[in-house]
Symmetry: C2
């Protein structure tokens, strides 16, 4: 998201048409492909380059339709439940983006009725960027939360040696558009750094921060070339947050973290789980805000207090994403680097679509 | 919780009688005093020395009945709600422990019916140790969560200068007694260290860890004698977690964090808010666990996988607390240091009860 990097403006229609075609080519149906394109555009518009269409299709190759993790065109089963505000779905390894969008919609409907609604999903496939789903729900006025178990166990528990935890975030979204102009979205990995970042630092010959990774013997190292597995941020605290995801997944139906995405004919379960929850903000309100403020005005006043008193340089979670979306809006399209456009061309070649050339796209100002 | 420290065994009845009398002396009614005694015993049994009866009554003096933060004998109002699974209460500054116990009970009933239940509380007073409430619910078989806003804003936002955030935890409890013998309870401050720890290190002439505190100008310092305010753990990550508490409080009805517990006749609101949520574990279950495991067996298998493969030295959140409770059970009472017993004697003097002498109590083995 560096301001100095050169970006090229890709009209969203053109982006979505290629992503849609790439998913269709991999066997996904019309709706799945449309959801995948919509979500990739949403991620790119908010500067989430780690989970744009290029990464989504790469993950699909590694863990999804290219492996056994995702089944194009799968139908979900909505399981019977005796609980009004809570549903459980068996995704049967349907595309994560399609499942997540639908689950979040259902949570919003349940929250309208019960104040809170939740959907748990077994046999899921990677939904890419949890922050994206809670951001959309927050823009529509809801408090939203999601967590999920990761495709791979890459993180070593606090005081441990071997990776048995995912690095997946907890994602919270708050309806703060009226208060601050964008939804506050809290969404970060439970590791100090991602494995992708470790590999990047190794290539660049740079060290890791302390307590970020261990070597193959499970000993902490700052040598990126020797780092094999990552460590939780905040020692026991990030470890606790990672455990929440794994334990919730275990209650839903996920099997052992170290088996995840490692498909063999062992009759075990290898897919992640999703958990979604939405709260209607009126279901929280005691209706008596200081200074006769409305609920939204109260949230605004509280955030202004937090960011006042000399804290004016602080940023809110979700702010950088909102600023990137403004740049995209001003440019009239999604912003990609020349390298990213080359990667889209490879996707175009894969599915027989017209190649993207850097010169096709204006440079963003 | 050091094993080498000398502890004296105080029978729980005697502890509870004194705590009850102390609360009665401060004007609290029978039920409030009983809840306060029960909660203090619960904290002490689990080794939570930062929130035992001594601290509870000290906080009551500073912020509660000794200030305007808590109103002994207050009645709560249950506000009308159109949402089935969600309630909002106006605590009218009733004692936090009594409100929290009742709210958690209500959440469990709602979860029995809806799969998930939540209670939000406006005009609350300090409930001491969120982990204690979720631990009790988890022992009864539920997944429980709570957060609240703090009595004071002691923490500086990431990249900020001035304390506008509380350090209060998010507390999660999981019903894992069948899986591991005790409930997994995740409950830690959002700061690197507590202000009490800063003061202790200053007295001992020891340095702070890096990025744990700032001086009066808002600059990071490791000099405990110059540290004025604490910083979030994990930089922007702990900051995000602290923001969740403040924003949820703002949706409920809390006013500005920097006004909290600073009672003046300004017509503003100065009390914290509570948020409680309980999930019925069956409301998460897809009912199809690998190897025909039950849900509890599946949770056990997942946790064993996480703590296997060389991770056998890792501990689970809640494990130290469970081990301390075993020591208390073996000793047949609550365990207090000689200094703590002296502090109880001061409380006894305050309310005209018989003093505690160290020699009254056996030394724990």
């Amino acid at each position: 998201m560096s301001q100095s990097e050169t970006f090229h403006i890709v009209p969203e229609d053109r982006h979505n048409a290629l992503v849609h075609a790439a998913y269709r080519h991999r066997g996904y149906d019309e709706t799945e492909s449309a959801m995948a394109a919509r979500f990739s555009a949403h991620a790119s518009r908010h500067g989430i380059r780690t989970h744009n269409a290029i990464k989504a299709l790469h993950l699909d190759h590694l863990f999804g339709s290219g492996s056994q993790g995702c089944v194009p065109g799968a139908s979900m089963d909505r399981l019977p439940s005796r609980f009004g505000a809570s549903e459980v779905w068996n995704a049967n390894r349907k595309l994560g983006q399609a499942v997540a969008y639908e689950a979040m919609e259902r949570c919003m409907s349940l929250a309208d009725e019960y104040g809170v609604g939740m959907v748990s999903v077994d046999n899921a496939f990677h939904y890419l960027w949890g922050g994206g789903y809670v951001m959309e729900a927050a823009k529509r006025g809801y408090i939203a939360y999601t967590n999920c178990t990761a495709a791979l166990a890459e993180m070593v528990p606090f005081m441990g040696k071997y990776p048995t935890l995912g690095t997946n975030p907890h994602s919270w979204g708050f309806p703060t558009v009226a208060a601050v102009g964008f939804p506050v979205v809290i969404d970060w990995a439970t590791s100090v750094v991602a494995m992708g970042r470790v590999q990047q630092l190794a290539r660049e010959g740079k060290p890791l921060p302390p307590n970020a990774a261990v070597d193959e013997d499970g000993n902490p190292t700052t040598d990126a070339t020797k780092a094999k597995h990552v460590l939780p941020f905040g020692a026991h605290k990030g470890y606790g947050l990672a455990l929440v995801n794994e334990i919730v997944g275990a209650f839903i139906g996920g099997s052992l973290p170290t088996l995840r995405s490692r498909w063999t004919d062992d009759g075990d379960k290898h897919a992640p789980c999703f958990f979604f929850q939405v709260i209607h903000p009126e279901a929280l309100s005691a209706g008596a805000f200081a200074g006769s403020r409305s609920q939204a005005e109260n949230v605004k006043a509280v955030i202004e207090d937090i960011l006042g008193h000399g804290n004016e340089n602080c940023i809110l979670p979700g702010q950088l994403e909102a600023e990137f979306a403004k740049r995209c809006d001003a440019a009239g399209g999604l912003l990609f680097s020349a390298k990213e456009i080359a990667a889209f061309s490879e996707l175009a070649a894969e599915c027989g679509e017209k190649s993207w050339m850097v010169d096709d796209f204006e440079v963003a100002g």
